[in-house]
Structures are given as structure tokens and as C-alpha cells.
């Protein structure tokens, strides 16, 4: 069993972030604008997003041994609305070698725990590509319910056909 944590990111994780952000396939999956990102740009990105008071940015880490850990992905709570107690969740396992072991589910649960228990959020919502079957299945398994479909919402190879985004949400069970 791999020991997994979510913790703040620091500048020393920038090379990993740069690598993931420069991964074309991952960009497609998480619907981010693809571009080659340098380590310096990733450092700036960490700094900017860590200091954003309406966001909580975490690295997803695997413990290698008692002293070493490795960043394998990120999870974020974004657009935190402290009045309505809502926020948007974004998450991915960037290191392909660690996909398919249920680590995404673990990281998701840790992030949701943080949102609901530590931050006392009422609702966590997310956007996911409708054709990202694995992710949709995971979110449903954890309890997310569909709130809508953004039809033909992104452009891939100059086509919008079936490029739908699901909006899903999970409420705090207090």
C-alpha cells in the first residue's frame, strides 16, 4: 500500500510541475491550454497560486521512505466562495507511472476531507470532460452528482462535436 499525502507545494517541486504542464495529453484531459512551461514559469505558477487567498493548492505526494517523498500530482480548491462555502476542485496525477493504482481516489478523498472538515465548505464542484470515463466514474463513486452539461464547450482539432463538459457537485453531509 502506497502512503499518500497532500501537502503545500514549494519551489523545489517546480520541475515536476513544468513537466506535467508541458504534457500535451494531460493538458487535453484536464482541459488546460497547452504550452511548454519552463521551471522558472512553474516556480512563478506555484508562488502565484499559493498566495491566492481564494485557492488552496496542494501537491499529491507519495512517501518513498521515512525521509523522502515524491510529488506525483496536484489537487486544488479554487474560486473559494467563503460566503456560500463553495469551491471548485481540480486534480490530476501527473506522473503516468502512478495512474491506475487508486491514488487519484485517495488524493480526492484527502482533498474533500480538507474542504469539508478543515474549511467547512458546503459544496465542492468540478468540471470534467464527458469522455473522460475513468474520472467521471471515480467522481460518481465518491458521491458527486451531475448538475449539468456544458454542450460543445471546447474546441479540439477544430471540432466541437461531443466536446461536452460535465458539471458535478458534492455537498457536505453534515
Amino acid at each position: 500500500m502506497m502512503d499518500l499525502t497532500i501537502e503545500s507545494l514549494s519551489k523545489k517541486d517546480a520541475s515536476k510541475i513544468a513537466e506535467w504542464k508541458s504534457d500535451k495529453e494531460l493538458s487535453k484531459l484536464i482541459m488546460s491550454n497547452y504550452s511548454k512551461v519552463s521551471v522558472e514559469e512553474a516556480e512563478e505558477w506555484i508562488e502565484r497560486n499559493t498566495s491566492d487567498k481564494n485557492q488552496r493548492l496542494f501537491g499529491v505526494f507519495i512517501k518513498k521512505n521515512n525521509t523522502q517523498k515524491e510529488a506525483i500530482g496536484i489537487s486544488r480548491l479554487m474560486f473559494i466562495d467563503f460566503d456560500a462555502k463553495t469551491c471548485e476542485l481540480g486534480m490530476y496525477i501527473g506522473n503516468q507511472n502512478y495512474r491506475g493504482y487508486g491514488l487519484g481516489k485517495k488524493a480526492l478523498k484527502l482533498t474533500l476531507d480538507f474542504a469539508f472538515k478543515n474549511m467547512r465548505m458546503n459544496k465542492v464542484y468540478l468540471k470534467v470532460r464527458e469522455d473522460n470515463i475513468g474520472a467521471v466514474k471515480l467522481y460518481k463513486k465518491v458521491g458527486f452528482k451531475q448538475e449539468g452539461v456544458l454542450r460543445e464547450h471546447f474546441n479540439e482539432n477544430d471540432s466541437f462535436d461531443n466536446n461536452n463538459i460535465l458539471l458535478m457537485a458534492l455537498f457536505n453531509k453534515r
Binding site: D83, N122, K123, E147, G148, L150, F171
Partner: protein
Amino acid sequence: MNSYKVLSKQVYSKDEFKIIPIRFEDRYDIMKWRNEQIDILRQDSLLTEEMQDEYFNNVVLNLFDKAQPEQLLFSFLKDGELIGYGGLVHIDWKNKNAEISFLLNTDLNYIDFYLLTFDVFLNLIKEVAISIDMHKIFTYGYCTEEYRFKPLIHNNYILEAKLKDHVLINEKLTDVKIYSKIL
């Protein structure tokens, strides 16, 4: 008159109504209406004249010369008089979609006039969106008063999502509806 470099046509009109690139002189009226209607806007605090000047000087003025501006804002006129403003915001040029924004002079914001003018505005802004090759336009509206969505339904917009308890308005958790139209 201001003009958007990205638009080949600057003025869009229907009957006595027209939209023209947002005018600097309308900024304080707009500020006043935004402050009066803060409940239905995604705006945290009341705007001041200084804030509005800064926004118009640093953000709005830059939009006119851009090849791909993030927003296209218009003053909305009836018989030449300013009655509201709005436009396309959060323009996503890669994915060719944009959100519609619309705000009416608070004094004119009674149901019948709102229904008429928002209907007209939707038609005019659709023309703008088509002219910049958008694929889809959408609205993001708080479910405080259901009549606000009527012009969207009348113009064949589709309800894409209902976000439950998504915002806090007057101490009450309120739903949000997203309507869209594929162009």
C-alpha cells in the same frame, strides 16, 4: 466614438434600440447601477468613482485595440439615451465561447421593460458573437427571479445546468442557471 479593432461593424441596432462600443462618459451611470444591483452581480463590494476610473482607464480602454479582447462591452441605447450596458465577457477565443453580460438602468428595471430590452439585447449580441466567429454564447444567472430567464427561453436558449445552492444572496443560498445557445 470608440471602436473595436476586432469588429468590422461597430453599431448594432433593432428598432429604437442600439448597442455601441462602451462610452467613457457612461462609466458613472454604470457604476451607480452596478452598486444598486450588486445582489445580482458577481461583485464583492461597492464601486467608487476612483475604482471605476481606474477600471475604464486600465482595462476598458485597452480592449478597443486588441485582436482578441477578453470582453466586448457596449452601451445600450434607446432612442439615443443610455438605458443599460452589457456585452460578451470571458471570451474564450480558443474554444470560441463567451458569456453574455447585461445590466439595465435600475430605474427602468421593471419586469415588462426588462423582458423587452433583454430580448432585443440578446438578438443584438448574437450578431456580435457571430461576427467574431463564436461557436456558443451563454448566460450565468442567479435564480432570484424566474422571469429573468424568460427572454432566454423565448430565444431558444437551452438550460445546460442548474447549480444548486451555489451563491449566497441576502443570506440565502441560491441556485444558478446556465443557459446557452450554439450559433
